[in-house]
Symmetry: D3
Subunit: 238 residues, 6 copies
């Protein structure tokens, strides 16, 4: 089973904490031990936010902010790599070819952002497309997709399952406002749609949640399932 | 005046034709003679469509199709470069840093796509953001933005002017369907929105239309003007 | 058995056609299944000819034409890669080290041109030298080497077998004229000579002809056999 | 006058602070306005310390710690670049050739670390050697070189002036202990010695101190002056 | 006037000698002072011969020998660069784009070999093609082109002038034998032919001979002049 | 058992000699046959000394001299590679990541210098740190570490065993003088100290000495053994 895991910066590194990184490294290694082939895409977290904030005060433009953010995602990728054993490519991948080649050779590949104008959410979706992943997992700060922002609207209801088309429909209005942030960004949703990919969006604060979702299909987040897609029997039974 | 010009593949190279490339090269050189600093982003055109069609028949995935498309945009970039004189960077830029560095040093930079999952529309917007362009021009197959597809709906009306926020609003429903194609893609529109950039979308079949738009502000397409933005007096008067 | 296969552009992609690419991909995979280690060098074909024609009309110099041609050979390489399964290096090799490293690791490597002033015929010969190939196969538009141009001279006779020295002797007069084109270019012939390499030049329109030549030594083209070289028993018996 | 400026991480970024970065950017721009050619080497600061601490808890080896540190110095370099105007190379230099080439072309070049096992102190000395700098300035947390650690020994006395040979003599005993940290590291001192370079070590908390030292030769730190070197009249009078 | 100068290894570095390198550096700087734009391609000389000899004893294949030779030409290029002043690109160019870009920006570019299977003679011709050089000068161990090998045949007569076509005719028989060496290799001659380039082949042991040939058209070697080419008045009068 | 071997230039290539290179290649292959994982770092030797001497006469600065030296170490690395069989990475590694990745994949990696200001002694120590080598072997011109220079002081006594801390203590005074040369340079000693690494310094003129030291722990040089380190039983018994 081939899996791409998007580790949001707010999940892996809200602030730098070795224990949290170690816990995720352990979860990844258990997935590898169970036979998973893994690509991991990490976000920027608190350090990226700090640099971007400082640069914004210095009147940097948006592409410069993106570049700072990408740099930090790659430092986070390297930090996670130091916590993984010998089955990981020791250099963060800088583009899709590097990541795909490492995965094809049996290594876990860890990468951050790729280019300005493209979030790590979208990078994870593109990598999953490229390596024909069986499953794309977004470990984010929110537990799946809601019909409203659960932080501000108490009546917000979570979707248990969406088709990729429905995912795009739901994300679009959340994405209109420049400042808005959906649990998965719109470009990522559209890449999921064009590839007809299976995905899960779940609360990533506990690394075990990712293990349970990947190995047993058990999670409390949102499943994205292409219409007419096969049952996700592969993870329960492999 | 600093300008980024997006030359749609259907405009520069619907099929390969030296005359058409030469006409665009001439227009670009006249803009340079008038003092413009220029970044040019070219699309894939007919050759890209042919390769992508063949690869789709061979069951390539979407990222592989994107890579083939990017490769062809870079060949188109090189072809346009051969038609430009000594003021052009002789190698197609492969990323934003290379393009921005060439422009900063006084060269015209010509580039194609950058990475899978990002159209050349979006590349042009990101490059314009990065070099703090005064104007972003989309020379496309359609003469601006309409409230419906003018090819199928006779009553479709063109917008003469939109704010970046309105542009996103208009593009979003056109982008829902995986197969749909808006004159400017959604990621590009969102980049325009986040940077509050001035843009023009016009029919690029006649290279002079680009010259007129850049040098005199005269065109029959759609202006994208940030709310509260200054009058575009700079191009008429420079 | 280690083989380098030169796939002329006129053979793989006279025009873009998924069926033809798939047929060659199948032949390559059968060779891999039979235990061959394979490097493949692809030419430019019709698309390269179109770009070069357009650029020539734009007064590009010869090196610029070569660069456009190389770019297109690499797009063709990527197209062939999409048709091959998991045993192929997913990125076209850009130089000999990349190709040799992929082959050494057990992958099929597909590449196009390397540098201006060097044809893909010569690239194939240099790659064969570098990886100490047992056999170099030129799948071209002509069925081997003739003592005259069979397209214009009805009495032209094919050579069944030549030594590398004789090959150079035959190619030299065909190469004097700037416009002339031999089935294998002179630099390639001289590389074959200096390495004392075994080669076959055959009509590549039918991919099975390559299989038969490699696996069973059966073909209707021209064998290039170093004087005193061992019998080519290896392919019949492996 | 050509100057290489080493900006210790504890000086530029003890924690991320736009004001501090802006103040240094202003000082650098005033030096450029006064005709200085400038290479700037920035350290890691608080963010580097945090990543290295986390990685050490994860049992990373020393080279991995160095790589994390280098990554962060490059993010700091990019942050400083965003605060500098159009006279700066927009990409952090990754090696000496990139930095020297930018300086030669009239740009300010900003870089961080280069390779594991080499501190940014040493990078600054090597860059100064390579571009034949007239002056190498270390803006550090300490105000020059003392005969003992002024933080623990109240009687520590500052050297007003040292030859490069004396600098090495003083630094050597400070460098014996693995955990020790001299204001300038031993490899840097030895590079200064081999090149017979003029250097200043001063308290960099106030960016104006650097300006005063470079433009007027006024500072309260330590001068390193090769025996028989010319008077440093060049900066007072240029 | 734009000139590409091919400095044979036997001319620049038969053995390593600072005086010889300095003399050539001086000649190059005088050409620059006279307004020439210059690309310089250096050969391998005695050091290359030693490495290739050792590697041949170790059963290296021909491509490995080429790679060792290319490596050494690049060391020679760097040595010549250290002897040139500030108008030279400080890094040896590794491909045609790097060299052409440096020349376009007003630097002297120094390069060695590019890729296996291509001599530095051919590199010089391809670079001259690419930058549309007015003149290509081969400073070799022989004083021009002869109708026989002057070292073995006392009656060998020098050609004072040849067309590119005649050059190819003369070189071909010299190139048949694998061990043979013409003053200019066959691939170079064919590149000169296809580009219709003006060239001079002369004895390069005295750097002043190159100056005289470039600046005043005076030399005792062989002129290669395209049929119907303009008089070489440009160098006498510039 | 994982070993990094530093082959001093004076040991591998005092002058170029195929027999000496072959002897070392054989020793390396026997170590591989015995199950060792190997990284090899080679020095510059006589050719480097010649280039550096010539460049010094041309007034090159110290960094330029380092760059020439690094270039030559890489040519030496390639020469050694041609003598090794199929278990070696065919390209010299240019940085630690390339070397570590090759070793991790089961190849022998051969590299030279990495960057100016860092000797190949230090490169070997950093590579050993990075790949967590069990043993670092310096095959040098001297048979271990002495308390004085044995070439000038007859009473100089060899240390049979030192801790890393003692090694630094001994090396420091040898390193004070700019012209001085210790058997292992100071930066290397300090890297050994910070990593608490086990090392051997021995006379490398006979390749078998390296084999004996690695496989059987028998040598007549100096052991560097971290205080409290385990007995080096691993090499006797593996």
């Amino acid at each position: 089973m081939r899996v791409v895991l998007s580790l949001g910066g707010s999940v892996l590194a809200p602030e730098l904490d070795a224990g949290r990184v170690a816990a995720y490294a352990n979860a990844i290694e258990r997935l590898v031990d169970e036979g998973c082939e893994l690509g991991v895409v990490v976000g920027g977290g608190g350090v990226a936010r700090d640099y971007i904030g400082a640069a914004r005060d210095l009147d940097a433009n948006e592409v410069q902010l993106d570049q700072l953010g990408i740099d930090v995602t790659r430092v986070n990728a390297r930090l996670l790599i130091t916590a993984l054993g010998s089955s990981v490519d020791p250099s963060p991948a800088h583009d899709y070819d590097e990541a795909a080649d490492a995965i094809r050779r049996g290594d876990v590949s860890v990468m951050g952002g790729v280019t300005p104008g493209q979030t790590t959410d979208a990078v994870a979706a593109a990598l999953a497309e490229y390596v024909d992943a069986d499953l794309l997992v977004y470990a984010t700060g929110a537990n799946g997709i809601y019909d409203a922002d659960p932080n501000v609207d108490e009546t917000a209801e979570q979707f248990a399952e969406l088709t990729p088309e429905e995912l795009v429909e739901v994300i679009v209005p959340m994405s209109r406002d420049a400042g808005a942030s959906a649990p998965v960004d719109l470009l990522a949703a559209k890449l999921i749609q064009r590839a007809g990919m299976r995905a899960v969006v779940l609360d990533g604060h506990d690394p075990e949640a990712v293990e349970n979702a990947v190995l047993r299909g058990e999670h409390t987040g949102t499943d994205v399932v292409p219409a007419g897609g096969a049952e996700p029997s592969y993870w329960a039974q492999r």
